[in-house]
């Protein structure tokens, strides 16, 4: 066994281990950000579910007194949705749209938003004009 053999073996091993370390480090870094993204997505899903629950509760509490104006009902719903707690790292956007719809959009940084449209009319909270 001479010096050349030792050097070649050491070179082969160190090249393989440095390549493998780089791959493993990249994968682990991605796994970390994946975990964070997953947490944000779960929290966004919970916020949307909380919005849906709020609408159903309002419908159950309203009884048989629907509002005559669906835009007013939508504005009131949007106000109540704005009051809901929001997890850290998420951003909420509310928008009143045609047909008395409220768009609730929850966005975490660097991710496409999750959004749902809510309608007070669909839950009997108002009577839309024909």
């Amino acid at each position: 066994m001479n010096l050349a053999d030792v050097v070649v073996s050491a070179l082969v091993f160190s090249a393989a281990s440095s390549a493998s370390l780089q791959i493993a480090a990249g994968s682990l870094q991605w796994a970390g950000t994946h975990q964070q993204r997953q947490t944000h997505q779960d929290a966004a899903g919970l916020s949307l579910a909380a919005g849906q629950l709020l609408l159903e509760r309002r419908a159950a509490a309203a009884g048989s007194a629907p509002l005559p104006d669906c835009d007013q009902a939508a504005a009131e719903l949007a106000g109540a949705l704005e009051e809901l707690p929001l997890a850290a790292g998420l951003e909420r956007q509310l928008q009143l749209q045609q047909d008395g719809l409220v768009r609730l959009s929850i966005r975490a940084a660097d991710q496409p938003p999750r959004q749902r449209w809510f309608s007070p009319a669909a839950y009997g909270l108002c009577r839309p004009d024909p």
């Binding site: 073996s9 780089q22 994968s27």
Partner: protein
Amino acid sequence: MERVWQRRILQRRRLERSDAAGFLLLMALIGGLMLLLSGLSLQTLALQSRASEQQLAQRRRQQDWLASVAQLVAARLQQHPCLIELPQQNWNQAPSTCITPAQLEQLSSGRLPEPDHQAGRYAISGYTPPQPQANQPQGAQLDLLWQPQRGPERRQRFRLLVAEGSLQGIRP
């Protein structure tokens, strides 16, 4: 005689040295290969979870869209209460005082009011009015077809709660 022995000993030492060098190189290669394989398996796991994350996100988006479309359709049905008691195949026979053909077309298929229309189109593929049954809340069946811009179509059935000819809520 002594020379012959010395030569043999030298030859043997040379052989031992080359064997040791080959063994060292082999071990380095095996060790390196195992390290590379473990790194690659980690990367494969990461890629697999990335693919499943994208699929999950797509499924969640579709669920959000379908639930939103159900609310939009229910809101529009609420504007035309005569349709609530009619099966979908009889909707075109509804009086024009209740719904015009243009409004019916707008109700039967369309898009969510999304600025960039990324989501795709929906269509009502079926509607069954509530069947009167004793001691049960009345529910109409709404079948929705979702046609995204990319990916396969998706169908989902919703139950619309009806009381006194008016919609009172949606159940998936």
